[in-house]
Assembly symmetry: D4
Homo-oligomer: 252 residues x 8
């Protein structure tokens, strides 16, 4: 029951067209989602630059094309993550304005451009193997108006490279720190900054890495201040949170 | 080597009292921590209301009393978590201005009062068993100038109670959501708000709870936007992060 | 907002004392729990014989006594599980009509007697070590009007004893089957009956039992029809479900 | 030894054709299964609408076709789950009356139509990824005479959608609730209904989901009343149990 | 229904005192355990020297004393494992003929002496920490007529000591090999003998030993021929199996 | 240094051709394996019917053919397990006297026929999925002179079928009991017999089966007497042990 | 800022071209990595024979070829591990002086020959399945000037073969001991030598091996002196450490 | 058979007092350990400063006193780790020359002073909680003639403190790096030095630390060169290895 219908009901009561009793009965059973939640949420999302998101893995090219079309029709910005090559090709053909972010395995389609905020989110990692997860975070931030600075060649086994980036890291509003293997980078970064560090373990490694569990546990046990953790390989979730914190800083 | 000594060295070079060669040699070996890092950090901490923290578990009463004394002498605010009864008693006797937060198993001692920011952090849980972890988060927030609203009786098995708190939850700058058992509360809360949700699994439960692992895994797999996770029972870490986000919003 | 207040509001609209606009505004924000959910639930619970439940572990004697008093004042039946000796003693002293079920580590207090249904629930195990969990299930069933038949000396390592109970097992409306060690009993029982088998793993065992995990996994992998599983040592949960199925059979 | 042969033996003793001693010896060794168990079971299964079940995974098309043929010859209804495409094709060709349930990866063949009971089983999930498991439960219920209502778009991260389905959920005789990721849905549903909730964890997710373990643990730790759990992805087992409870309600 | 009663029934049919129909009915419902299983088993157990066994952990002194008394009355030999000091004291006082095996934490009471077989079982370990498990195996063997040779100072980290025992190990009928830590001893022993090696992991160790899991996994992965494994710390089970193999060799 | 060379050395000392000093030096350094271990082992293996074994997985067809050829040249009997189709084909072509055991994924080549012992080993399982593991055990037994009786259709969910096989099971010298899923069959079998039960967990199952871990843990926690466990899917190891026990019974 | 620039700055201060104040400011912000670390490290690496290393897995042939070219241009020695066939072929074509170590799945390219030290590293394993990991360790040692002796046919199940190698093992400066299955070999080797034993678990095995976890845990629990462990299958890491210890012995 | 007896035997052969045949027979059966291994080992141990070691946990004071006495009589140096207070007190009373290392929970008794080698071992950690493990390593090194430099206040969350110790760390012959929590310190240290880093995970932490597993996994996945790992809390093992490497450097 959206607001218009609620108002119509109240007016019917006011005019006597509906009795108070009937109104009580109808109100007690009203479906909650009809109160206009969705529309409000939708409007707020658009205003704040929050995209509609498609988890591409396991979707057929046809499904992807159709979902993108529907979202585009709503005027939404679209972010599709974990897309497979065939799906990417199909979407790009059907929606030529879509953009393929190869390193991130992601597609974006911007219908309503989002204004860029001051400041930036830092996305940090030790090297090439963690790039797909990092880039997923980058794309997720950028489509929501958060500029990203990539700090991609710092690791705990080469501390001086990390220290050399100290000032840049300290200027970031929020930091997404991605690491596989021993997962120590978020702790080291958190020791240098006083802003939220969103730690993303990756499944990069082998043997006793157990598909990212070693890095996950290390991050959960971090002794650094302001460190919190998302699921293994979840660059998207980290980007959403980083951008949410960034937006929070500059909204009224 | 602090700045005064660095300046003295440069002046010695400028005046010829030290040769360029000797200066190069001394500079190449200079210990990094002498660049005045610590002092800067300390000043910034004081200005921002970040307390010095003692992990009380395993410390003797005498150790606790002495560490608190030293910190007090620095003009620091002090937060001691996971204190045992004997230690609490000893500190309260030696430092009568210290405050005991019983439900949080914590002590605080405020030397330099911290100005309170606008807005608030919400600390959310389903019931009495999770209170110690919640209260640890509350104390951690409050000593840093973050007002806290406690929302302590909402759970996924009684959804209408949670919905009834919707508006209060939506006004929070950041939310610490604490849950044991199936750990589903952060997902449900994240579905109602658009602010960071810091999920804290607790070791409350038995059997296949595995000391909080069930809740931890549920939270890491949350499908809610803006959810990140800290270690099991880590109310302190969640409070530090929530307060950091709160401060971030209002600092220049 | 309970029904009386909702009706008052509607009548105010009908009489013009409140405008339609104001009513819309108030209704959009109404707290969900005030719609009278709780009271309805409470009445239904009483009618169906569902007790109010206290998880006694970790509660002080004083807390236990007070909670029982409050529930008694509501006219509820009370079931307190996992009570510690001091708490039991205190409750029995303060509420002499309470009953102590020693083997189940439980207390009950019946304010509104529950009518007993036809048929029975069978609680089944292999031996003495599993008795506390079994008896917790028994007490939970009985306070809700489900008669229980105990079948306490049957195990997979002595199949003829199990077969000798075949007819009694087949007459049960629902079966709670409790087992530690290798957890095979629910499968064997399910092969003999065509009614729901609620499997309860127990933490009885040592070594590679891992506190009940061995039995839990065995039960989740059961090839028997109609087997489902509850948490390790959760006799209470199994009893609630068994009694719910029993009630379901005989309610209109 | 079926009843006819047992009677013949007794009559031989009565007439002196067999001595008491010989009868004792033969009776002590009699194979248990010859007492007519199987036949009784078979008849009861037919009368109650319980199908014969084939676990299709790993079976060759030829094996599948032959097993279906044999069961059909017995007059049984047949349910084949987890069938691979080649097997499905072969069965449909050999047994044109078989029905392929694509979303459920299942085949059914109804020889003896089953009467439909009053009431229904609800099958509940949050979205498209859990559909195969849901549909396996649906087919399993339907072939046994249980009507199913699908409630497929409700999740803990969008609570109002779940609440909007409250009444429909409350009318179900039993509920199969399927969830991957954080596995929180069964708890939320159990908070709204007072009927058995059969929780099915799915392997949907990634990283710290560990192939469904996160959802499984969450469900085992559910604080909801009447929740029990089956194996990961076991839609079939959940459907069998739901239909068994449904049948139980309406049989004499 | 024991044999005497079965015979009586058959004779009643033979004489016409019971009709064939009545006999059929009574026979179809006869409880399986009444066929005299228990008695036969009991006799065979006595003849073969199999004791009745009490798992002492968690039993009160009074319970222990009573169970032993009952078994003694049956003429059984008794083995009580994992007894606590108070229980041991109580049994020794009430049954002075009982023997306390201190290193094994076990009690035995021999009513019917068992004849000793030729040959022996070897019980093998690396050192003092594994002794309680070893001695539990020893007592279990000895009360069943299996002589034991203890080989208690051989380990993989001192191979020459193990080799020095080669001939003695090769003469054993069966070998119980007990090891904690890395659990390598059974593999090494199996490389020297051609008889069954029953491997018993112990919970001796710390850290990544995980309460015996490290040794358990090593033993399950043994590349030695004839190695099988029992539960962690299960000296009793290993002794039962070793003695069973020993008996098997010499029975007709 | 084999015996001949040792004797030659001693004789050289006796005749003075070698000094005592030189002999001491040579003896202190003598390689242990040269004492004739290998040859003795080889002869005993042949006499006892122990085959040489090839683990076929990962070996190329050419490697397989060559290893078989070498073993054949020694007069050994050969058992190759876990062979892949190409390897099987190549061996059968190169060694036409080899036999392919399809269900066991194994090849045998008998050069020296082994005399068959009295009595038999029983190999027991619940159904078709466990057959490859069972048949691997069967082939392993048979090539060593142990006749096998297959009992392949008994499971805990159909207890009467298991009981019907009681006598046959009780006559076996040793039993290999194979089970996936909940792994309960060895416990049930051990309750019926008084001979060693070698339990083999299989990786058959899905979800919380965890590749055979559920069955493995159940078997390690078995309350049946005489049960020991080998690695998941290790039909070969179980067959080796069963045949070793069988041989033990009948050797002098 | 490399040393030349640092010296230039100091000289500018000495000559008055730069003020002391400006120098202080520039020095406080100087990037740490510009102090000439890298160059020093590079030189030392060359002098000590430490190669530049490429982890080949997941790299395209083109990437491999280019990285090798860049390293060659620096005058580095190159070691590429875990290379895939296509990458190997491409590198060998582009850099004909590169050497393919087939068993190790590795490539090397030596630009600056490394002098060979006295003494050797032993690489030890039980058989053919562990060879790839062993050979990775061998190649890693050899390119750094460490001669390797391969001891590839010793295992705990054939102790006399291991003892026969005792003297050779005792002469090694460091030992890399590789084992899958039960992982017992490092303990046995450590019992024979008094030099560092670097244990490498391999993922060879099946079932309860859990991809090398069984061997890993065994090695971590080793009771041998001087045993430490690297990640599963990490022959490279073990070779680096062994060669580092070897170099340590002979450097001044 | 020690060398003297071997020589006597050879001389008896040479003189004809023993026949060659008798000598062959005696030599074939000679126990391996009698070849004088033990004595040689003992002498070498003394010369190299390797102590005899007692694992104190679980030993009674009387046992400790006696073992120490026996070792002292052999002229050995003694190291007792994990001693409990009562045992320490008893040893100090009985052997006043013993030294109690309180922080290490260890006792030493030096009978034969060990010469101190040049250079040192560094023992490194982040703070007070890891001290007992560190000090166990220190005592283990020192009793073997390895001087130790303690670097006890460096952690990854305060990188500048670690860098300030760079030169001292680089001078160490070997480094024992102890860390709980996220276990990242060994990686950071290995990035600064080119000597072996022996990583010791500690059980310090809570929640998802899992008793040291988080740190253990992080260390096994370290990307630093020269890192190997010992068991959780195994300061003794790390000290033995560090001192062995130190000795290796300076022995001839």
């Amino acid at each position: 029951m959206d607001e218009a219908r609620l108002r119509a009901l109240m007016e019917a009561v006011a005019t006597g067209a509906t009795t108070a009793d009937d109104a009580v009965k109808r109100l007690k059973d009203l479906p909650f989602e009809d109160l206009g939640f969705a529309k409000l949420d939708h409007h707020r999302a658009l205003r704040q630059g929050i995209p509609e998101v498609i988890y591409g893995a396991g979707k057929t090219p046809a499904q992807l094309v159709e979902i993108v079309a529907r979202m585009k029709a709503h005027g939404s910005n679209v972010l599709a993550t974990r897309c497979e090559p065939a799906g990417i090709e199909a979407v790009l053909k059907a929606h030529p304005e879509a953009v393929h972010h190869e390193a991130a395995r992601a597609l974006t389609l911007v219908t309503t451009p989002v204004e860029q905020r001051p400041g930036f989110v830092a996305v940090v990692c030790a090297g090439t193997s963690d790039l797909p997860v990092c880039e997923e975070a980058v794309v997720t931030c950028e489509i929501q108006g958060s500029r990203v600075e990539r700090v991609y060649d710092v690791g705990v086994a080469g501390i001086h490279r990390l220290l050399a980036q100290r000032e840049r890291l300290q200027e970031a509003i929020a930091l997404v720190v991605v690491a596989g293997m021993e997962g120590a980078l978020p702790s080291a970064v958190a020791g240098l900054v006083s802003r939220p560090v969103i730690a993303v373990p990756t499944s990069v490694g082998y043997g006793a890495n157990f598909g990212g569990v070693a890095a996950l546990l290390a991050m959960l046990n971090s002794c650094g201040t302001g460190v919190s953790v998302v699921n293994i390989d979840n660059g998207f979730g980290a980007g959403m949170l980083a951008s949410m914190i960034h937006r929070l800083k500059y909204e009224d």
